[in-house]
């Protein structure tokens, strides 16, 4: 389960960033910001490598003593960064991959939403709005919630 999920646009500004627990948010924001350098490094390394296969999943970006940071970049150069608690050793690589895949699917759904302008922050409107169907952005939010750890 993730403690922080961030979606970062091509121009390196955050489109969506959410962390649990909510009190030490700045620490996670800073961690995501520093991980962007590692992401850029990995992307340029991939470009120079002569390997034919270029994966979207970047793997473990860097481990700290409390947390591990994973990265994923889409074809549209939108980056997903996930911070996971180090104490949760049961989390395997393919579980992280599947979490990123779910995130990518939800992000694609948000892109296809006609009310979403590419480049805007991903936030759902107030529940007071008279919407018949569940907004795609709220679905994105709830998908991310399901991925996050329950810290009481």
């Amino acid at each position: 389960m993730a403690v922080c999920v961030a979606v970062i646009a091509k121009e390196n500004y955050p489109l969506y960033i959410r962390s649990i627990p909510t009190e030490n948010e700045l620490k996670f924001h800073y961690m995501v910001h520093t991980s962007l350098d590692v992401v850029d490094e990995k992307i340029s390394a991939m470009g120079k490598a002569l390997v034919d296969q270029r994966e979207l999943y970047l793997g473990l970006l860097y481990p700290t003593e409390d947390y591990k940071v994973y990265g994923y970049v889409t074809n549209s150069k939108v980056k997903f960064v996930m911070v996971v608690d180090s104490s949760n050793t049961a989390l395997r690589d393919n579980e992280i991959r599947s979490m990123f895949r779910k995130l990518h699917n939800s992000y694609t759904d948000v892109m296809c939403n006609p009310f979403y302008n590419p480049g805007d922050h991903i936030q759902s409107r107030a529940p007071a709005a008279p919407l018949m169907a569940v907004s795609v952005r709220r679905a994105f939010d709830s998908m991310v919630t399901s991925m996050m750890i329950q810290v009481c």
Binding site: R54, L56, N75, N105, M111, C112
Partner: protein, 173 residues
């Protein structure tokens, strides 16, 4: 994309609807005898812009959704090949017939039987009407390229229906 005819009908209606209003483009255009032609020309341009804009937004969404399972693109040519193969198949159920480049940022994509024109005529009939049926597709290409990281300018030309060429010029910044 269950039935290709659905999109073709929708597209035809879109063009017809936008074109129906081109005689009143709005304020800001000069009045008077020359004003009539100027108004008509400005209206046509507006409609083309609107169609291209619609295609642009659809292209952005498609450019995000279609390459989802594929691996990262290595270079520009890969992206153009993706447009000719995957994007064209997804929207028009066929691949682009030819892709040419001058290796200096200009690509010409040729479709010998463009599905949106094939129902109209074969040959030189309706040649003047063809451009408005290509505006949406130009925007589609530009939107998909934009979301994949390439700023470009896309224009279309028709020599004889239903063959059409899309010229993509990469804007270097």
């Amino acid at each position: 994309m269950a039935d290709p005819a659905l999109f073709e009908f929708l597209h035809t209606e879109m063009v017809a609807e936008l074109w129906a209003h081109h005689s009143d483009p709005g304020p800001g255009v000069s009045a008077g005898p020359r004003g009539e032609e100027a108004r008509a020309a400005a209206g046509k341009k507006m409609s083309l812009c609107v169609l291209e804009g619609m295609g642009f937004r659809v292209g952005q969404a498609l450019g995000e959704r279609l390459p989802q399972e594929t691996l990262a693109f290595r270079e520009e040519l890969d992206i153009l090949k993706f447009l000719c193969k995957d994007l064209w198949v997804a929207v028009f159920q066929k691949q682009m017939d030819s892709l040419r480049t001058n290796h200096q940022g200009t690509y010409v994509l040729q479709d010998n039987s463009f599905p949106l024109l094939i129902r109209m005529a074969s040959g030189l009939q309706y040649l003047e009407e063809a451009p408005k049926f290509l505006a949406f597709t130009c925007g589609l290409l530009r939107g998909a390229l934009c979301i994949l990281g390439i700023k470009s300018l896309v224009t279309a030309s028709v020599a004889s229906l239903p063959t059409c060429k899309f010229q993509v010029v990469i804007q270097k910044t």
